[in-house]
Symmetry: C2
Subunit: 215 residues, 2 copies
């Protein structure tokens, strides 16, 4: 299945970097941790980072960090969501061809609030398992009051685009022939450090495998 | 110097996480590599990742990855720019208090195109030295044609906000007393891997210190 070819999701710049497989969209969304959500407020754009989770071709967006943005969206307003993963700094022989290696998914659509309690609980499970796989069945479940205090939006993934740059610098042949400069890629690695226990933990609480084993 | 208190840059949610020092804004912007730029196109928001660099209280934005967005902005249109750094996954005793540790800067303003060649060259130096410190004096300088093919926007940092979450989970006292669950933070580390030389390099090109020594 390929991604949609609407005008705004058709990549006009850097077409060689566009990827049209829906599986690539899913992979980028599943690999990220935070998205950037843009809405229009009083005619001006507002962008904020927020948590998300994917269930099939539905993206659920979390409300706690962007309440103003999400209130604007509650009527079902247009949003744009980007998830970007940085893979490396591309050092070229020319400054012009310096670049980054990255994977980026951009979704356009109308975000609608998730209000039905059963769907909302499902959405929160999707969001939680994206942020912290294994936590849903481990930590204390949300109370009715906590559920009410949480805003969740649903966004259909129909209209989306994926752009990926990978590999060495794309220098001009002339620069390759004439330059004495080093060129290549400095990879960017993201990893998890040693878990830092909460100072309020009692001494005998074991670190669970879903935290210690996270890669 | 503190950040501006306009309505849209005044943080309404999570005030305890708001930081009002201008130095904090500079630190977050200087620590990031990519920003998310939002503009309004035909009444709908569009968000895209792009490179940037800071010079004092001016943010320069790079054009090559967001030409459509930047064309919209050339008249000097409203933009919103976010830079987000993820520092850790916050595992709480309750699902409700699961969170992330992060540093985020959001800038609102009117982006204007940088057209004057001298200013544009300066802006490209700022952008290059942000992406790859040391490259400006090392790699081949842009030609007039390359300069013309590059779009650069300038955005004033006057109207901006910074939000930072750090430290352990903020569980309710009741959960701390009653829960047997582990709680704490799984730090997220970003680092550089081994440089990967361009396959078209000739054998005797030394890896320069500005790449090998980058941390």
């Amino acid at each position: 299945m390929t991604l949609s070819p609407t005008p705004r999701s058709t990549i006009k710049r850097g077409k060689k970097r566009a990827v049209t497989e829906r599986s690539a969209l899913h992979e980028v969304l599943d690999a990220g941790l935070v998205c950037h959500l843009a809405v229009v407020v009083d005619g001006a754009p507002v962008v904020l980072p927020t948590g998300y989770g994917r269930d099939g071709d539905t993206l659920y967006l979390h409300g706690s960090t962007g309440a103003r943005t999400l209130r604007e969206a509650e009527g079902g307003v247009p949003v744009s969501v980007a998830v970007t993963l940085l893979d490396g700094i591309v050092y070229a022989r020319s400054l012009f061809n310096h670049s980054m290696n990255y994977r980026c998914a951009v979704v356009h659509g109308t975000a609608v609030p998730v209000l039905d309690p059963e769907t909302k609980t499902h959405a929160l499970k999707v969001l939680t398992e994206h942020l912290s796989p294994g936590s849903w069945d481990y930590a204390r479940q949300p109370t009715a009051r906590e559920l009410a205090a949480t805003a969740v939006l649903a966004l259909d993934l129909t209209e989306a685009s994926v752009k990926i740059r990978s590999g060495p610098p794309g220098d001009d042949d002339e620069d390759v022939a004439e330059s004495t400069a080093w060129a290549g890629v400095l990879p960017i690695r993201t990893s998890y450090g040693e878990p830092e226990p909460c100072p309020r933990l009692t001494g005998d609480t074991a670190l669970p495998e879903h935290v210690s084993g996270r890669r």
